[in-house]
């Protein structure tokens, strides 16, 4: 993408209306790019293989008996490379030429290069012992690469597989919008069925639909290849029948204004709420546990979202408030807490917890908010660790139990809706859901309030905000306190749910995971934050909580990192950016389109930055 197109090569259709067929110079020019992408892909491929992901994830079957998650990790790179190369030839080679064999050939060539990385690796593995420098490496890898055959087989087969998969990526480029939509839907349906397997099985048991899942899934996990084909066919047919109506409906809702929009939103919220209330009734332990974990992180992420997303304070030690919430709830409710054990009812304790955490927020916030930018981030990082070390310290072990932590925390009781630790994840989930609803409402109101606007002003330009008469110190402190209180809810529920708290539950990693959830979902966006938690915590798993792809837990951080980098490049605004913002953007585009069409009489005498409309 960075290489500029030499204009003399005649690649671009000339003004004389030269036929825009692919010509030699384009491909000659693209070879370099193709080789570069293939090389990068090959390195990525070797890295993935040596990280031991393929071997570890081989246990999780996606489609029985042809595809495991382990092999899938090896197929993603050639596919992406093939797809990208097709994209680049199409986009930068010539603007209008019909898609065709070149994408496929380019994709295949690029995929073969990527696969060549694995071939090379197979040769290396056969000749050198990599056990010493690479502890993660397992001898199973060579076997896996060669499908149990000799090394030469691995060399050949990965070149072929790479080329095939790369070609598939290229072919996807050449398809029309309808066909490609159908293909993508089919792939997503099978992948979704495989990823959601534990959830689906759990729900089906609750609804007495075991017969269905027995057909769909193989006994030891994975979608049966017959049912995979059936699923793909069904979803493909559905996609063709729907003909993009789903997207139309979504755009329609997005384009609604005022009262109708509010009604649509309310309807969606009620629908989601009802589903979340009814669903757990049919779900077993696993689903509820998963939902509760996601909910806990939704709470945390909503709190951090106020601090980072609205007020723009990069807090890297947010786990501190989670820890304070957990520990204070534990001390207040547990009979076993060392020094003081008032054994308060959970709800009463919660009020005290909120006050304590709010004060801690004030206490930490006061010195922190005097700094800006990088310094602030570093200081918050420090405070996050300080709080954990305080709970860990021998000096205060009389209060907090030191490394022994506090155990036998009784669980949360609210008006008979008791959730004794760990025994009934369904009740824990309802408790989490209630607090999520509160937190969502509070966030939503705050965002539209005067305070919310002041936060955004501080985020945008602190000096000017001050000049507008905003008391920036107070406003930032309030952001810290609100964030702290939302985090303490999560902490209080966490300690009741798990039944014990240890300093090690509050490592710096938790802060980072929460921040990744917020960034991944979309900073400042409530829906985004929820979606971020669902995807990252629900599918990949939290710092200590297993997700749907529990096999990934070892490689979670690697994948978090990769996702974050990809996100920053492709969608810096996050998975689901704030609705208000996207609508603004939308209107902006419409205004600009109208302007370009000359519908708005424009007296752009100020010599502004607008470009003149093309003649």
């Amino acid at each position: 993408m960075t290489a500029t197109l030499p204009p003399e090569t005649g690649a671009v259709g000339g003004p004389d209306g030269m036929p825009l067929a692919p010509s030699r110079p384009v491909l000659a020019q693209d070879w370099r790019r193709l080789v570069r992408m293939g090389a990068v892909g090959a390195v990525a491929q070797i890295f993935i293989a040596l990280s031991n992901m393929p071997v570890r994830l081989d246990e999780r079957v996606v489609v029985k008996p042809v595809l495991s998650l382990g092999y899938l990790t090896l197929l993603i790179v050639p596919f992406a490379a093939g797809y990208r190369v097709g994209h680049q030839i199409k986009r930068e080679g010539m603007p209008q030429y019909a898609a065709g064999a070149h994408e496929v050939a380019g994709g295949a060539a690029c995929g073969a290069l990527v696969g060549g990385g694995l071939s090379l690796l197979a040769v290396l593995l056969a000749n050198f012992d990599l056990r010493e420098p690479l502890v993660n490496w397992s001898p199973m890898l060579a076997e896996l690469l060669a499908f149990g055959n000799a090394t030469w087989f691995a060399v050949v087969i990965w070149l072929l597989i790479g080329a095939a998969i790369g070609a598939v990526g290229g072919i996807l480029r050449t398809l029309g919008p309808r066909t490609s939509r159908a293909v993508v839907t089919m792939a997503l349906a099978v992948a979704g069925a495989a990823v959601l397997e534990p959830l689906v099985v759990d729900l089906a048991e609750g609804m007495r639909l075991e017969a269905l899942t027995d057909r769909l899934y193989a006994r030891r996990g994975g979608v049966n290849w017959t049912s995979a084909l059936g699923l793909a066919a069904a979803s493909g047919v559905l996609a063709v029948l729907a003909r993009g109506r789903v997207r139309q409906a979504r755009d329609h809702i997005a384009s609604l204004e005022g009262a109708r929009r509010n009604r649509a939103n309310l309807g969606l919220i009620l629908l989601t709420g009802a589903a979340l209330i009814i669903l757990p009734l049919f779900a077993g332990k696993l689903t509820n546990e998963l939902l509760a974990n996601v909910g806990l992180f939704v709470l945390l992420a909503l709190g951090l979202n106020v601090v980072v997303g609205l007020a723009g304070i990069l807090d890297l030690g947010y786990v501190a408030f989670f820890a304070v919430g957990s520990y204070s709830a534990a001390v207040l409710t547990a009979a076993t807490s060392p020094r003081i054990n008032p054994e308060m009812p959970w709800l009463v304790a919660l009020i005290v917890v909120v006050i304590i955490t709010g004060l801690v927020g004030l206490f930490i916030g006061a010195p922190v908010i005097r700094m800006r930018g990088d310094y602030l981030a570093i200081v918050t990082l420090g405070f996050g660790e300080i709080i954990r070390l305080i709970f860990l310290s021998d000096w205060l072990s009389g209060w907090f139990g030191g490394s022994q932590g506090i155990t036998k925390i009784p669980g949360a009781g609210i008006f008979g809706l008791t959730s004794v630790a760990g025994t009934d994840p369904r009740r824990v989930f309802y408790l989490v859901l209630a607090f999520c609803a509160i937190a969502i409402y509070v966030s939503w109101r705050l965002e539209r309030s005067r305070l919310g606007r002041a936060w955004m002003a501080v985020r945008e330009d602190e000096t000017v905000a001050e000049a507008m008469g905003i008391n920036t110190v107070n406003v930032k402190l309030l952001a810290f306190v609100v964030g702290a209180i939302l985090g303490s809810f999560s902490g209080a529920i966490f300690s009741a749910k798990v039944g014990s708290v240890f300093p090690n539950s509050f490592l710096i990693l938790v802060s980072i995971v929460i921040l990744v959830v917020v960034i991944f979902g979309g900073m400042g966006s409530i829906v985004g934050v929820i979606a971020g938690s669902a995807v990252l915590i629900g599918v990949l798993g939290g710092p200590k909580q297993p997700g749907l792809l529990a096999e990934f837990s070892e490689f979670k951080l690697l994948i978090y990192g990769a996702l974050l980098i990809w996100m920053m490049l492709a969608r810096p605004e996050g998975l689901i950016p704030s609705v208000r913002r996207s609508r603004e953007l939308h209107q902006e585009e419409m205004a600009q389109d109208a302007w370009l069409r000359g519908q708005v009489e424009d007296d752009d005498s100020d010599g502004g930055t607008h470009a003149a409309p093309a003649t």
């Binding site: 000017v464 000049a467 008391n471 205004a591 010599g607």
Partner: protein, 249 residues
Amino acid sequence: MSTDQDGAAVTPLLEMRSVNAHYGAVHALRDVDLAIYGGELVCLLGGNASGKSTTLKTLLGMLKPTTGEVVLDGEVVNDKPTSYRVARGVTMVPENRRLFKRLSVRENLDLGAYLRSDTDDIAADLERVFELFPRVKERLNQKAGTLSGGEQQMVAMGRALMAKPRVLLMDEPSMGLAPALVQQNFELIQQIHEAGLTVFMVEQNANMALSIADRGWVLQTGRVVLDDTAENLLAHPDLRASYLGQADT
């Protein structure tokens, strides 16, 4: 100190009495005396690092004077925060406009009225801003950062007007604008001034500023070196030499 046309009986709207200000060890303002009277359009001229912006910050309360007094309506406000002064009609248009770029035009305007709670009055002022700048109304839901330079200047002015100011402090209104826009901007300032607003502007572009101002001061390394009417300043040989670049004509 300059005198009012009608004599000395009028209290200045905003005043600095022998103010000294420091940034750490840097002595930024030295015994600065300024008085801005209601209904005036005055300017403070000076080169880079002469203390112009520091003067504004001190007037607005974002920097505390080490000695001396800042007086608003006869009240010493040295210890009052910015919000107190903004609420009493001291409003700044920052240099380079500095809009909240990722917020909408509407939100920018609303933030101008942050300290006000008189909803009806705010709505009326919003209408006034629209009257003054019809273009702003068209762009209401757009992000401020996507506007052209001229439009941003309008929003910056509108945002300041939303605070219901009595005295408008303008930090380098000509900075970062194309020459045609500078002209337009100064006409705008004059227009707002004629509508009854007191304006205090800080400028490097002495020619432009003095062409519309009543009086002016010249600041050099934190000290007021000249204090005169605009006409006299324009004719002053030192000023011509150092700021107008016309020493030989």
